[in-house]
Symmetry: C2
Subunit: 196 residues, 2 copies
DNA sequence: AGCATTAAATTGACAGCGTCAACATTGACG
DNA sequence: CGTCAATGTTGACGCTGTCAATTTAATGCT
């Protein structure tokens, strides 16, 4: 089995290797040469498929945002009431961050993200659109709802995002049960969502 | 306190240069060799004062967290009512992030932070203690307040932190006035805080 | 078919980075 | 005055991203 000069689908292999590395070593350990090494390609091979490190990170972030949007939409679809849908999206938001912490942090590392890349731009619109759209659905029929809807969306989004970030960074520990902080976190989130 | 011989106080000069670089080039442009170059020292000079890059970043983060705590305490002191104090702290949280975005992002970049460093550990306790303490003050006299207080603290903290992070990352733009997003952001925050 | 063009992958080089070890200089203290 | 620890410098190593030049494979054209 001699290795052919041209890999069958190097682009997909590089993306898979990149995700595996991020899951193992966190985002700091993600390197162009590292992913190339992982798939047995030369150190400059990624240049052909992604222009540079920003390109690779951005394309992987696009994959992540699409999976993220899927998770939120699927959670929302399990409920009928608009408020239940919104709460389910909030839980899915945090659960995604806990399930794929490396990928989640990569998706929100602004400095190495080129948001003008079509794949990433579209995936971000999809993910954030489901969240803000679900908020808007709870304001149906409100008169002059624009301002309240905007504040509601910003509040819900900020809350779950901040919670996820602080959680991944081990900063909420003083508020969590020392015994099982991870399990306790989702119970705490439910309390937060129940406050309205 | 022994004083260095050639540069006067190289440690302070390095910290100042580091902050200046972070303010100019964001956290990605902060390098050990860069700060050494800035103050005219050799490339390995920082090793004597901070062990490695993590050390420099952590000490700078400690400076930031102390300034952060000062800002929140000073904002809180301008009000009497516990709820007003808490809202003022929330505004100060976001205003600090907007005023020193590079430093703020450095303070929350977990991977290059050694939270066991005494200076950083203490500064973080101070900053987060003012916030959670101010939340607890709004629950004085409540029966069975422990659980509600915990959820309230997590919610308030997550909300302002998520808002600050999303704002710095230009992710709230779809919710902001395209004309003056910066000024609009604080108005939006007030609406969020007013929701309770 | 055969040739030309393009895409894909490799090799080699360069500068910048963090970090370590070895060495030099200084100020403090006995 | 002499020793010593602290502070700075120099040089080296391997790692990284990125570029230019080159080789190889696939594809298209006539």
């Amino acid at each position: 089995m001699t290795r052919p000069y041209h890999h069958g689908d190097l682009r997909a292999a590089l993306l898979a290797a990149a995700e595996e590395i991020v899951n193992r070593n966190s985002v700091a350990g993600l390197t162009l040469r590292g992913v190339a090494r992982e798939v047995g390609a030369s150190h400059a091979a990624p240049k052909n498929h992604f222009d540079d490190l920003t390109g690779l990170v951005s394309e992987l972030a696009a994959v992540g945002f699409n999976r993220f949007a899927d998770a939120m939409q699927s959670a929302s679809a399990r409920h009928e009431d608009p408020q239940d849908k919104l709460n389910a999206i909030g839980r899915a938001y945090v659960e995604f961050a806990l399930a794929e912490p490396g990928l989640f942090q990569l998706m929100f590392r602004g400095e190495r993200l080129d948001k003008t890349r079509p794949a990433l731009h579209e995936a971000m619109l999809r993910a954030f659109g489901t969240l803000t759209g679900s908020v808007a659905a709870t304001h149906e029929g409100d008169p002059d709802a624009a301002r309240a809807t905007r504040a509601h969306a910003a509040r819900a989004w900020s809350m779950v995002h901040g919670f996820a970030i602080l959680l991944l960074d081990d900063r909420l520990n003083p508020l969590l049960d020392a015994g099982s902080p991870r399990a306790d976190a989702l119970a705490l989130l439910d309390d937060m969502l129940a406050m309205g």
